[in-house]
């Protein structure tokens, strides 16, 4: 009996009129937990009853405490007939089971009825007294903290990251039980809501047990989903990342909101290249479709193995900081082994996190994904959900092997989802292959900093993650590698796709933007296995086309990396929908993307050529415009000083040791560049020509359509930015105004005989129009950024396309000077700051003497074949030097050197050196350090952000917290609210609601119905948060919004599942002014040095 739950019903208000005669209500309340029920007295004739009940006490197991919700039912007493239910409140008491979270739940809750919606409010008080239970075999996992946030929650530090958690529970769906034919819709809905509440409680408890087994105390990145499999049942599944979290003391809290300073930044050891060699697999970022059609009787497997290579980037985190040198070799290996074993002990080295403490992420390989088409059948034994487990196991294995092929031992930013249509189910999993720092995986790593200090890698964190983790010789997929433009020591790919957030320390040029690829594919209606086969045949083509679209759009925006990539493929009866969303950025470390070249198939046809020229011009114009729009002016920092330059080259070449001489073709190209580079006139062109332009061949109408659709994407109107990641690179002065919203649009396709093309157009327009609507609605918030734009597509019925979006609009300061906030640097560990300071002092001296800026980037020119390109090789033509002239406006801060020609020259020298020198000594450590310090100083130079202004703005907006009787609760899909600190996490919010109506017209049609339902869901989330004592929900997401309608019968039903973390936030008080001053001084110093 380890727990006592106490509940008190205080009062009600705004109750509905239940007695028409008196226009009043005789209300009483039933309080139920498990099988125990208490009742309050009837409070007669009032719409605002004051029950002020005694404390109802439930003595229960903590297992039940975790599984069961407290169920409060408000009823209208009727002497002669049955009492009428007014509505219910389910209260999840999980937050009370954790000592650090809330201690009491107290507040007004909306009384919810699945037919009528919110009907008044009830004031409830709930407390839990937990007794210590030392039973080792306990079934409960009280005290394990859950976070939806996919990063280490602010205010905590990760002492250890244990790894992947997964669990699923299945049950029969009450909606499909025989009894449903005789019970009321209300009873059926309530049975479903209750069941799901129970199931998620159970799931959470089971996950918690796994965490305890692993020795952790928290789940981060907890993601719970429902699969409504119809006849075959109801699956609730969850994944997460087990961690051991430690609360930061208040002293360190100020800095902790950005990073827990525990991060050991040692990416010294994990060069995966050796491993890569051992691995014979050469696949890139692969997505595989494995579709064994499952059928219980025949167990026939139709399997189809597709490998669609996705352009992926990887970086090698070669500890080029020479301090470790050769002698570090064995140690590296040792550490590597430790890491590997630590990871390999786990079945799945997966992490649901999308952003990490500094140093955690060593290299990123690229996106790995797997899909599988299954046929659903009834789950016979809910206690043994083996089939579903096996399905997921299969997919995870696939993901794991993809990651291995990329030379990576882990998958980060991992997520799973399903799309179900009738009996067909597509299971998808995706993540980003990565190499992680072993330190977080090992036991006893709590005393950070003592042991591994010597492997501390001075290579800039701003680019380290981009370096390829796989071996150049055995590239998993064809990619064009160049030396990192940031540190010049490691190879980087030409494009990088990831599912994670942009690492905070990454060096980015300009701003980012939302990039979407949209695709519709018609399919024939079919049943069973035939249907599954059709779908699995279509999948790879869809995936391929989505990637091509993404690639094209990325290039059109002159960007070279995607973050937060999320590809959703939804299945309907007669079509498949694919939507890929990501945030494009220009990573300073990666080469500038080539342009897009249009090629006609037939030459000689004048009109055709004219047409092609026009399109080419449009594309070139768009690229130029986008460059300006997103402020993509890669810093052209080059050392004029030949000495510096030489040193650089030496170092680079040294890195090149052991790396293969590029294929002959590469060489020839390089030589050609060399010869051209002497021609000053052609320099501008060369900058573009140095890379293969992406060529689109117009050979049929399809291609024309594709190009048109490429160009139809409107860029956001002035003052707006958009992204689907946590924050927007290039925007730092956020103000505190946030507006979270959910928008749903459903389109009915009236014309049954649509072609793929017109369908694509319709779908694209639907998404574009939604974005346009957002911009219009939020125009008063300008300048503002829509962050975490999360699109969800579904085909609820034949001829219906549903898109639901949740996002947050955040305003930022107008006088945005693209500057980074000082805090970024302040918050790093003290020692690191010192280091930086030292560097930049060094830099000042250096630059004053040389009067030049050493280059932080050198491009190697390697011919590029993206994996995507490989598949359509026939369409690819290698073109150089005819591209659009590169924007050569050189930032006034940088030494004005023409970058294009320079890059070419560098690469050529490099090439020559490579050809000659087979063994060259390591470059001096100093050079590399300086490079890094430069990178730092450049970015620090950019952040003289006027703190005062930020403050005055926040003061202005603070009055929104006026004397309203209802606590304002902010909601955001992000893990933080700008300008604030989360001082306490109160627990997870995970709610599931059903709403049904039989008077659709009266409720304003299906729009009116859904509008009020979404508003009600928001209201209930806010009320629960407020009752926990919180004032915000972070990491909020609407995971499901399933709408079924039947306008002819005047009926509709909708299911919504939302989750998030309840927090208490406070306005950020002043930053340590001294630190920012130091930083300012630093940047000034750097600026002086640069000019």
């Amino acid at each position: 009996m380890p727990g006592k739950l106490k509940a008190k019903i205080v009062a009600g208000r705004h109750l509905p009129v239940m007695d028409r005669a008196s226009d009043l209500t005789d209300a009483f309340v039933e309080v139920k937990f498990g099988n125990t029920t208490f009742k309050t007295d009837v409070f007669p004739k009032s719409l605002n009853p004051q029950w002020n009940s005694e404390w109802f006490k439930f003595e229960v197991d903590d297992e039940d405490l975790q599984d069961e919700p407290l169920q409060i039912t408000v009823l209208d007493h009727d002497t002669y007939s049955a009492n009428d239910a007014i509505g219910k409140v389910y209260i999840d008491i999980d937050p009370l089971l954790c000592t650090e979270a809330a201690s009491v739940i107290s507040g007004w809750f909306p009384i919810y009825d699945t037919i009528h919606g919110i009907r008044g409010e009830i004031n409830v008080l709930v407390k839990v007294e937990l007794f210590n239970d030392l039973n080792r075999f306990r079934q409960s996992s009280c005290g394990v903290k859950f976070f939806c946030t996919t990063s280490i929650p602010r205010g905590y530090r990760a002492a250890m990251v244990h790894g992947f958690l997964e669990e699923l529970v299945v049950n029969e769906d009450p909606e499909y039980q025989w009894i449903d034919r005789i019970r009321t819709p209300r009873a059926s809905n309530e049975a479903r809501q209750r069941l799901i509440s129970l199931m998620s409680g159970e799931l959470q408890r089971k996950i918690g047990l796994k965490v305890l087994e692993m020795g952790g105390n928290a789940v981060v990145g907890y993601l719970q989903c429902f699969d409504l499999e119809g006849e075959s049942g109801l699956v609730v599944r969850a994944i997460g990342t087990a961690c051991t979290l430690e609360k930061l003391t208040s002293g360190s809290l100020a800095s902790a909101h950005t990073h827990p300073n525990t991060a050991p930044a040692s990416n010294a050891c994990n060069s995966p290249s050796k491993d890569g060699k051992e691995s014979p697999l050469a696949h890139g970022c692969r997505s595989t479709h494995n579709s064994p059609v499952h059928s219980a009787c025949s167990s026939q497997r139709l399997s189809q193995n597709f490998s669609v290579s996705v352009p992926t980037l990887i970086f090698t985190g070669m500890g080029s900081g020479g301090s470790a040198g050769k002698e570090a070799g064995p140690l590296k290996t040792l550490l590597r082994q430790q890491t590997q074993t630590a990871l390999e002990q786990r079945e799945f080295p997966f992490f649901t996190l999308t952003s990490f403490p500094p140093g955690f992420l060593v290299h990123v390989g690229g996106v790995v994904s797997a899909r599988s088409v299954k046929l659903l059948d009834r789950i016979h034994n809910p206690d043994e959900p083996e089939t579903r487990d096996a399905w997921w196991e299969e997919i995870r294995q696939e993901i794991k092997s993809h990651a291995k092929a990329l030379g990576c031992h882990a998958v980060v930013g991992y997520s799973e989802n399903t799309s179900i249509c009738e009996e067909v189910c597509i299971l998808s999993a995706s993540g980003t292959a990565a190499i992680l720092n072993h330190r977080y995986m090992r036991e006893g790593c709590l005393d950070i900093g003592s042991t591994d200090q010597r492997f501390e890698d001075p290579s800039p964190p701003s680019c380290g993650f981009c370096h390829i983790p796989y071996d150049e010789l055995n590239m998993p997929f064809p990619a064009q590698l160049t030396y990192c433009y940031n540190c010049r020591r490691q190879k980087v790919p030409d494009v990088l796709f990831t599912t994670i957030d942009l690492p905070a320390e990454a060096a980015v040029t300009g701003k980012g933007c939302l990039i979407q690829a949209r695709l519709c594919r018609l399919k024939k209606k079919a049943q069973g296995e035939v249907n599954a086969t059709v779908i699995s045949n279509l999948l790879p083509f869809m995936e391929y086309e989505l990637h091509t679209q993404l690639m094209n759009k990325l290039k059109l925006r002159s960007m070279n990396a995607l973050f937060g990539l999320h590809i959703q493929i939804s299945v309907g009866e007669n079509m498949l929908l694919g939507l890929a969303s990501a945030t494009g950025v220009y990573l300073t470390a990666l080469p500038a993307p080539g342009g897009i070249q249009i090629a006609g198939k037939t030459t000689g046809d004048m009109s055709n050529e004219q047409h092609i020229l026009t399109i080419q011009k449009r594309i070139n114009d768009t690229i130029a415009r986008n460059k300006e729009l997103y402020q993509i002016n890669p810093p052209k920092l080059f050392a004029l000083d030949p000495e510096v330059f030489c040193g650089t080259n030496m170092e680079l070449t040294e890195e090149g040791v052991g790396s293969p001489i590029p294929e002959p073709r590469h060489r020839s190209r390089l030589f050609r560049s060399h010869s051209e580079s002497s021609d000053e006139v052609s320099e501008l062109d060369l900058s573009h020509g140095k890379k293969d332009a992406f060529v689109l061949e117009i050979d049929d109408t399809d291609a024309v359509e594709d190009i048109h659709s490429l160009l139809t994407d409107a860029s956001p109107p002035a003052g707006f930015h958009s992204c689907n990641t946590e924050t927007m690179p290039g925007i730092y002065n956020w103000t505190t105004a946030v507006q979270m919203f959910t928008s749903v649009r459903v389109l009915r396709l009236s014309n049954a005989n649509l072609s793929n093309q017109s369908l694509n157009k319709i779908f694209t327009d639907l998404c574009e129009n939604l974005l346009k609507s957002f911009y219009f609605k939020l125009r008063s918030m300008v300048p503002c950024c829509l962050c975490h734009l999360n699109f969800n597509v579904a085909v609820p019925e034949e001829e219906l396309i549903q898109v639901s979006v949740t996002a947050v609009a955040m305003t930022f300061d107008k006088d945005q000077t693209q500057e980074r906030p000082a805090e970024r640097f302040i918050t790093k560990g003290g020692s690191e700051t010192d280091e930086q300071l030292q560097f930049s002092l060094e830099l000042c001296a250096d630059s004053s003497s040389t009067n030049s800026q050493p280059s932080s980037r050198i491009s190697g020119t390697v011919s590029l074949f993206t994996p995507a390109a490989k598949l359509c090789q026939s369409q690819l033509v290698v073109v150089h030097s005819t591209g659009v002239p590169e924007n050569t406006i050189v930032s006034s801060r940088a030494a004005s050197v023409d970058y294009g020609s320079f890059a070419d020259r560098c690469s050529t020298w490099l090439e020559l050196l490579r050809l000659k020198a087979h063994t060259i000594r390591r470059g001096s450590v100093k050079t590399s350090r300086r490079t890094q310090s430069l990178a730092h100083s450049v970015s620090s130079l950019e952040h003289c952000s006027p703190l005062t202004e930020g403050r005055s703005r926040s003061v202005r907006s603070s009055r929104s917290f006026g004397g309203s009787p209802v606590t304002m609760v902010k909601m955001t899909p992000l893990s933080f609210l700008p300008g604030t600190r989360n001082i306490k996490y109160l627990g997870i919010i995970n709610m599931f609601f059903i709403r049904e109506t039989t008077s659709l017209r009266e409720e304003g049609g299906v729009s009116g119905f859904l509008h009020s339902f979404i508003a009600e869901v928001f209201a209930m989330v806010r009320a629960h948060v407020a009752a926990l004592g919180g004032n915000a929900v972070v990491s909020y997401s609407m995971k499901d919004c399933v709408l079924m309608e039947n306008p002819n019968k005047n009926q509709a039903q909708c299911l919504i599942n939302v989750s998030g973390d309840a927090v208490i936030y406070v306005r950020e008080t002043d930053q340590e002014p001294t630190a920012s001053m130091t930083n300012m001084g630093q940047s000034l110093c750097a600026a002086d040095g640069a000019t």
């Binding site: 208000r13 705004h14 007004w108 909306p110 919110i118 409010e121 409107a714 109107p717 507006q739 979270m740 919203f741 959910t742 928008s743 749903v744 649009r745 459903v746 389109l747 009915r748 396709l749 009236s750 014309n751 319709i762 129009n769 346009k772 609507s773 957002f774 911009y775 219009f776 609605k777 939020l778 125009r779 219906l800 549903q802 929104s960 006026g962 004397g963 309203s964 009787p965 209802v966 304002m968 609760v969 902010k970 909601m971 304003g1004 299906v1006 729009s1007 009116g1008 859904l1010 509008h1011 009020s1012 979404i1014 508003a1015 009600e1016 928001f1018 209201a1019 209930m1020 806010r1022 009320a1023 709408l1043």
Partner: protein, 357 residues
């Protein structure tokens, strides 16, 4: 291909004040879209008509859902469904309860009943206010009327607290309630020149001086019903015109005071008896409900019209009424000074308000 469903819900409810006004004014969605386009919303940001339509529909839906709360504004502050900042709430309520002077002028003093509601189409046609807006305004009047009817305490204060209105708006509503309760006739042709604000000011005078609340502030309907005792006492004023000596004495006192002070002296002297009879007769008949209703028309017919035809200036009126009131105090046999002051104070103010040069 048709948009089957289109919703946008913000955590903080997004409401555009312009659209709100269009909604209040009873524009249909399509008319509102057109009005917004004409106002140039599209130019200020890159959007097209579809976006505008979608936005307008969303907002209309939001307003419709809010309407229930706006009808009992106190609920708006502690409801949970919509998260609206307090200053926004104030704006929403204030605008919801705002009304068109032209409309209210039509229903002022009428019974707020179903019957009147049926006439709203005519009123809408006459005033150019859309029927929808007329209905909202009419229902607002009725709702306020119903709520304050059962409350004790000062009328304006009750309205202000119950409907969270500004002081000005609460006073206007008090006037409307007061007029509706006493069914004052305001629709006659002779009264057409008076604006709602004229009547509202008069109502303020009546409420402050002639109701039960003017003497006792804790009874039901205290500010809505006229003080019956006072109305009875008014009968005593009859002596001023019934007693011939008294009337002459009164006249000579007033004339002495006025002589040489105004150009209209001759007319004043000539009309004194008529005017005095008019005013006193109004006073003595106020015990009849029917005559209460005709209070304003009587004032116009018995006093304002004769003065206007003699081209009195507002200053003349003021001068005359001041001396007329004060002289009665010197009349020896006249014992009802208190009642006289209470009566004439209001009459004086009302006539000042109603006398347009």
């Amino acid at each position: 291909m048709a948009v089957e469903l289109d919703v946008f819900v913000g955590n903080t409810t997004i409401m555009d004040e312009e659209v709100y006004q269009l909604w209040l004014d009873g524009y249909t969605v399509n008319d509102a879209v057109k009005a917004r386009m004409d106002a140039g919303v599209l130019e200020e940001c890159e959007a097209d008509a579809d976006v505008l339509l979608s936005d307008t529909m969303d907002q209309y839906r939001t307003f419709q859902m809010c309407e229930r709360l706006l009808q009992s504004p106190a609920k708006l502050a502690n409801q949970l469904l919509f998260q609206i900042t307090p200053h926004r709430q104030v704006m929403l309520i204030e605008r919801y309860y705002a009304f068109d002077d032209t409309f209210v002028r039509e229903v002022l003093g009428k019974k707020l009943s179903k019957g009147t509601k049926k006439d709203l189409d005519d009123i809408s046609a006459k005033t150019g206010v859309t029927l929808k807006s007329c209905r909202r305004q009419f229902d607002n009047f009725k709702r306020v009327f119903k709520v304050v009817e059962e409350l004790k305490g000062p009328l304006v204060e009750n309205i202000r607290q119950h409907f969270l209105l500004s002081d000005k708006l609460a006073r206007d509503y008090a006037a409307i309630v007061f007029f509706a309760n006493n069914r004052f006739e305001t629709g006659k042709k002779k009264l057409q020149y008076l604006t709602f604000q004229d009547f509202a000011l008069c109502a303020g005078q009546l409420i402050n001086n002639w109701t039960v609340g003017a003497v006792d502030n804790m009874v039901e309907d205290m500010d809505v019903d006229l003080d019956k005792e006072f109305l009875q006492e008014l009968k005593e004023l009859k002596i001023l015109i019934a007693d011939k000596d008294l009337l002459d004495q009164h006249k000579s006192l007033v004339c002495t005071a006025l002589r040489g002070k105004t150009k209209a002296f001759a007319e004043m002297e000539a009309n004194f008896k008529n005017l005095s009879r008019g005013l006193v007769n109004i006073a003595t008949k106020l015990t009849n409900t029917k005559d209460v209703r005709d209070f304003f028309i009587d004032l116009v017919e018995k006093f304002i019209e004769p003065c206007r035809s003699d081209r009195w200036t507002a200053a003349d009126i003021k001068l005359y009424l001041t001396h007329y009131t004060n002289s009665a105090h010197i009349l020896d046999p006249f014992k009802h000074q208190a009642v006289w002051d209470r009566y004439m104070g209001v009459i004086k103010s009302c006539i000042f308000i109603m006398y347009h040069d």
